[in-house]
């Protein structure tokens, strides 16, 4: 992974010093609440329902065992002993004291971490495929590009006060595990016929109040021009994005208002002035950054490990886990493994300090000391020997992250909701738990197969409900919490926004609603069809009929 040099380190240390002084001035009354607000937000510090929430950056989801141990220490020393992994591949502390935040940042800086731009109206953490660099279907490794974007976006002086938050995702594989269609900018790293690397650029996707799938504005941007082109997009947005209404301030609204074609022309006109300028990327820089992401020292294996395959045959529990939580790796004899942070009755994405220590040990023991955070709020060990999988499985069971449910109905993406978040209209964690309890039969879950269930506690859509195959949105009706269900969303390739099933339901109804939706799928599917395929074929009507007929 990327290791800071003296420049990178100096920049985060300067930040700690700057934020310490800003916090001091706020506490001394020299900065008003409203003046401190964007400063603290650009450092990931929210004032939440019960306490401040501090969001720490995990650039494109890559984290080392050493960094995980530091998170455990901070959780113990400054929080209530646990952390929450978010859908932006970041991590959140829910209970730090404002006064302690500068010290927490100093701890983070010791392990090359920070909270820069994890919130606020600026360029947020760039996200990518959790299997970057190891995926069997990868065309180009997106990680060097993510790091180049990280540096460019960090304290970008022109774009620190954008109309709204701004999110970039990069994908380099056949499958899209980075959801680039629903980001402000989605970049697909591709090779042209000559084998040269470039980017297909999507712009104006996003969730929230107005969910939209992004539009392509450039089919092939040669890699040298990545940063000047990003500058041009951001400059057009900064100047012409709406600032009169925060709900219409995202770039997707501007792109829609202008049309993607006109927006693309404006970007091209702006870019013409800066193209080939000093911000044009150099081979030397690409080589320098890419050098940090070279493959670890894999042992040579010729094929699948015989003992691993035999153990799968012999032990059903291990096989279940291997089917769901173990992923194909580009190197023979290796696998990527997802540690499920979704056991029933634990808030999705939460881990306590002891688990964090255990996770760090597992990373050291089995995966070159490195981990990835997924946007589905799980963790990944990306480089595990197949011959180690059985031992890893046993260790995971001991620590509570061997739930064999990755990609299944109970692997729910869920925002913190009304239990923690001041923005939420409704609770989301108890809904996730009730559904997990309802679908507790593992054989049945595996039979249902791949299914994304995403739950958000409000329109801001941190739980990505719009792109869940089944989405749940918490809504407030006259002070009461209700839940709206949508079907047919998809965050992968050919991303789509789910359609609303109909009138919303009470919290108590949600498990039975979910059961009925699944029943319709099971009754109608052909042997090859996943949930989304069946929905596309039979449409909304049968689902609607079943769910609302029974409710009357």
């Amino acid at each position: 992974m990327y290791i800071y040099d003296e420049y990178d380190q100096q920049i985060v240390e300067d930040r700690v010093k700057q934020f310490r002084d800003q916090t001091r001035r706020f506490l001394a009354g020299e900065l008003s609440e409203s003046e401190f607000l964007p400063l603290r937000l650009q450092n990931g510090l929210y004032v939440q329902r019960y306490a401040p929430m501090l969001r720490v950056a995990i650039p494109y989801g890559l984290i080392s065992a050493r960094q995980v141990r530091k998170l455990a220490l901070i959780a113990r020393q400054y929080d209530k002993g646990y952390v929450h992994f978010s859908t932006r591949q970041n991590v959140q502390f829910n209970w730090p004291a404002l006064e302690d935040v500068p010290d927490i940042l100093a701890h983070l800086a010791e392990v090359q971490m920070h909270a820069i731009q994890t919130s606020g109206n600026c360029i947020r953490n760039t996200t990518t495929d959790q299997f970057a660099g190891v995926a069997a279907d990868e065309l180009v490794d997106p990680r060097p590009w993510c790091e180049i974007i990280r540096q460019w976006s960090t304290f970008h002086p022109e774009f620190a006060f954008l109309p709204r938050k701004f999110k970039i995702a990069v994908n380099g594989a056949v499958a899209d595990r980075a959801a680039i269609g629903v980001h402000d900018i989605g970049l697909n790293v591709v090779r042209n016929e000559a084998g040269e690397i470039g980017f297909r650029v999507l712009v104006g996707g996003g969730l929230g109040r107005t969910p939209i799938v992004g539009s392509q504005i450039c089919e092939f941007l040669p890699w040298q021009h990545l940063l000047t082109y990003l500058d041009a997009i951001l400059r057009v947005y900064n100047r012409y994005g709406r600032r009169d209404n925060k709900y219409k301030a995202r770039i997707k609204i501007l792109v829609k208002a202008l049309t993607p074609e006109v927006f693309a022309e404006k970007v091209a006109a702006e870019w013409a002035h800066t193209k080939d300028g000093p911000a044009t990327l150099t081979q030397q820089e690409l080589d320098r950054v890419a050098g940090h992401f070279s493959a670890p020292a894999y042992q040579p294996f010729s094929g699948d490990d015989a003992d691993y395959l035999a153990k799968r045959e012999a032990e059903k529990g291990f096989n279940n886990w291997a089917m769901r939580n173990v992923h194909a790796h580009k190197v023979p004899g290796y696998a990527a493994v997802t540690l499920s942070l979704k056991p029933t009755a634990v808030a999705p994405g939460d881990a306590d300090d002891k688990q964090l220590e255990a996770i760090a040990d597992l990373a050291d023991q089995f995966s070159f000391g490195e981990l990835r955070v997924t946007h589905q709020q799980n963790l990944v060990l990306a480089d595990v020997r197949q011959s180690d999988l059985y031992a890893l499985w046993q260790a995971c069971r001991k620590h509570g992250f061997a739930t064999p449910n990755i990609g299944l109905l109970t692997d729910i993406i869920c925002c913190p909701g009304g239990d923690f978040c001041a923005l939420a209209n409704a609770k989301s964690i108890p809904i996730a738990e009730a559904i997990q309890r309802t679908f507790d039969d593992l054989d049945y879950l595996h039979d249902i197969g791949d299914l994304d269930l995403n739950i958000s506690g409000c329109m801001n859509a941190c739980g990505h409900h719009h792109v869940g195959h089944i989405g749940v949105l918490g809504v407030d009706k006259k002070g009461q919490e209700f839940y709206q269900v949508s079907i047919g969303g998809n965050s992968g390739r050919d991303a789509s926004i789910g359609q609303i099933l109909g009138p919303s339901f009470s919290a108590e109804d949600m498990p039975s609603v979910m059961t009925k939706v699944i029943d319709v799928y099971i009754e109608n599917r052909t042997p090859e069809e996943q949930f989304l395929d069946t929905f596309k074929r039979i449409g909304m009507a049968p689902f609607k009929e079943r769910v609302y007929a029974a409710a009357n």
Partner: protein, 165 residues
Amino acid sequence: MQRLIKNGEVVNDSWHLLDKDATLDGLPNSDSIIVPLALWLEHSHALKARDGGLGVWLDSDEEVESIADDLSQFQVVALNFPVFSDGRNYSNARLLRDRYQYQGEVRAIGDVLRDQLFFMQRCGFDAFDLRADRNADEALESLKDFSNTYQAATDQPLPLFRRRA
């Protein structure tokens, strides 16, 4: 007299900033004035004929393109921040410097607070008319908040990747 941060020092400001609805009536001939864009666009001829110094100021929803051909007329271009969180004038400042090679003073006016000065400076502002209730001497410190920066900007056209040892 208002105190102004200019080229990294606190100095007394001799310029007179006219309101947005200012007219030509009663304008002193020899004072140095910064006029609103609308007044310039309507009365450029009369304003050019004065003896005093001339500047113009743009609000955050006004485009720097509208004065691109006139820049040689102004010793000061001031860009207004109606609220400090309105970031449009960061882009306007860069255009003034990088695209139009404007060499005069680029001044931040309005809701100008110390925690934004570092970014403003990077975008080409060289003068900061802090909000009246703020201490310019204390704010000077923030111009040195960071000892290095990653990306190309007006103050440092070479990105760090072209400067790394």
